[in-house]
Symmetry: C2
Subunit: 161 residues, 2 copies
DNA sequence: AGTGAAACGACCGTAGA
DNA sequence: TCTACGGTCGTTTCACT
């Protein structure tokens, strides 16, 4: 679970990230398995120094190195963003929605929706069941569904541009 | 760029992913730098076989191993989803929006918005400038802003649950 | 926080079932 | 598509700056 936007104080609180660490992150955004020695050559640091910095960055939650997948190729062909209106404690409602397996992204927002949730399903039946279930969650007043038709951009490289 | 939802045919078209490959993906979702030998022990395969499968999975775009970062800890404190109405060629408009640096996620949807775009900015000034710019893009009719208040869930582990 | 060196382990190409 | 093996390179630990 992330710590962004109210999820709690940063665990490591590593302070501002310097340019060398940003350069390291940039390398790992291109290829999460690039060797420390290689990164060291690119950023002008020894292999051991790179490794220490990567350790710190991951420990403090600034960065994590993970596999990200293409839902379509894994058989999940229905993706949608749900705009949700809720009452009372929005965080509590959002957490109940976030607890669902098919929800991969969930947050409290300011605007005409209180909560946004991205969901991913194998087919229309699953999606319909999921929406029905979310509408039955305590505190959920209404949902509006935005079916994904064409994903045009999805980037993971933050803070290094 | 992803190939999901109309972005083009799957490059590798690797066919259905079997359970062993899913197990490998699962390992790499936990830790993108886990050694192939280690993964091999977990899934019952030799190091070389794991390596070949990972190669195929990444080449075909089923999976990529990357560093993902926490925008907040990198000094980007304003995040929002924009719901956009547009005319004519939605894909063309979405691509113009997607071309902007601060846009990290952009897609064409079915629903009361035509396009959704997630944006990330250092501060309110940057965000305001960005929204103004998007509203000036050819084909954009209107935008609605959903400011992120509290991120409750963000998961990258797809297809292995 | 960084470097350098030596032992260890991972990675990669190739050959073969 | 997998296993087996040897050469190469990356990683890890530790002593030092």
């Amino acid at each position: 679970m992330s710590t962004q936007h109210g999820g709690g104080a940063a665990p490591g609180a590593a302070g501002p990230i310097d340019d060398v660490s940003k350069a390291i992150i940039e390398q790992l955004q291109e290829d999460g398995r690039r060797s420390y020695a290689n990164i060291g050559k690119a950023v002008g640091l020894s292999e051991a120094a790179v490794r220490q910095r990567v350790q710190k960055l991951t420990d403090s939650g600034v960065m994590q190195i993970v596999a990200v997948t293409d839902p379509l190729q894994l058989g999940f062909s229905r993706q949608a963003m749900l705009g949700i209106k809720a009452d009372d404690d929005l965080v509590a409602v959002a957490d109940r929605i976030a607890a669902l397996n098919q929800v991969d992204y969930c947050l409290v927002t300011a605007g005409s929706f209180d909560i946004l949730a991205e969901v991913i399903c194998a087919n229309d039946d699953d999606l319909l069941r999921l929406i029905t279930r979310i509408r039955g969650i305590d505190g959920v007043l209404s949902t509006e569904t935005f079916m994904y038709l064409s994903l045009r951009k999805q980037e993971y490289n933050w803070g290094t541009r």
